[in-house]
């Protein structure tokens, strides 16, 4: 399942959806909104996306993972909009016959998601300022998850 959502992510349901009697291993990754980043305090994040392309890229990533590992089921859900501290921003679930396959596929999916899927976060710092996080622009470093 590939999904962008403005409501809280039901990671338990996502995990259930990838379980299978063909799989010996399930790996779930959650990205959650962390309070402290290099000494600065976050109070909230806002996520924006280019939805059509983001969904297309997520489907491509799932296909790439299936080509590289014996993935039984996979699901990726990314939340958009305003997130508070501790909220789940992204959930990646994958099942494979063996555990190292599931760990490798799960890590691949979240690593690549952060590189190629057109989604952006804006920091709401505790001093009241806001700042888009755009790695490599020299304006803000890649700080999350």
């Amino acid at each position: 399942m590939i999904q962008l959502t403005h409501t809280p992510i039901d990671f338990a349901a996502l995990t259930e959806s990838v379980r299978s009697t063909q799989a010996g291993a399930v790996v779930l990754f959650l990205g959650t909104v962390r309070e402290m980043t290099q000494g600065r305090q976050t109070v909230a994040l806002d996520y924006d996306a280019y939805p059509e392309m983001a969904e297309a890229k997520l489907k491509e990533l799932e296909a790439e993972a299936r080509a590289r590992w014996p993935v039984i089921e996979a699901g990726i859900v990314h939340r958009l909009g305003h997130l508070e501290l501790g909220d789940v921003s992204v959930a990646v679930a994958v099942s494979c016959p063996h555990r190292h396959q599931a760990f490798d596929a799960g890590r691949f999916l979240i690593d690549r998601l952060k590189e190629v899927v057109p989604i952006w976060k804006k920091e709401n710092w505790s001093d009241g300022s806001t700042e888009w996080v755009h790695p490599g622009t020299g304006e803000a470093a890649e700080l999350s998850g």
Partner: protein, 81 residues
């Protein structure tokens, strides 16, 4: 040719608009689009060189033709997750 692009995140904020229409030569590539965009919206200068350009759902190479497309998008490096 009339060429339409969407803007996202800080690019949208700096341009003050979620979309732009440019008139580009028939031969225009993604590299040409970047230059034209900097001339049209000087406020984008601080991030112009790092902007990503997408044609449809795919990232464009500098040589990818873009003139006349209405499914272009321009945005800074992604930070989802």
């Amino acid at each position: 040719m009339k060429t339409v692009l969407k803007l996202f995140a800080r690019a949208r904020d700096l341009a003050g608009s979620p979309a732009l229409e440019l008139d580009l030569p028939d031969s225009a590539t993604a590299a040409d689009l970047r230059i034209a965009l900097g001339e049209r919206v000087p406020a984008l200068e601080p991030i112009l060189s790092s902007l990503l350009i997408a044609v449809g759902n795919d990232y464009a190479a500098p040589t990818t033709p873009v003139a006349g497309r209405t499914d272009l998008a321009v945005f800074p490096p992604v930070s989802g997750g």
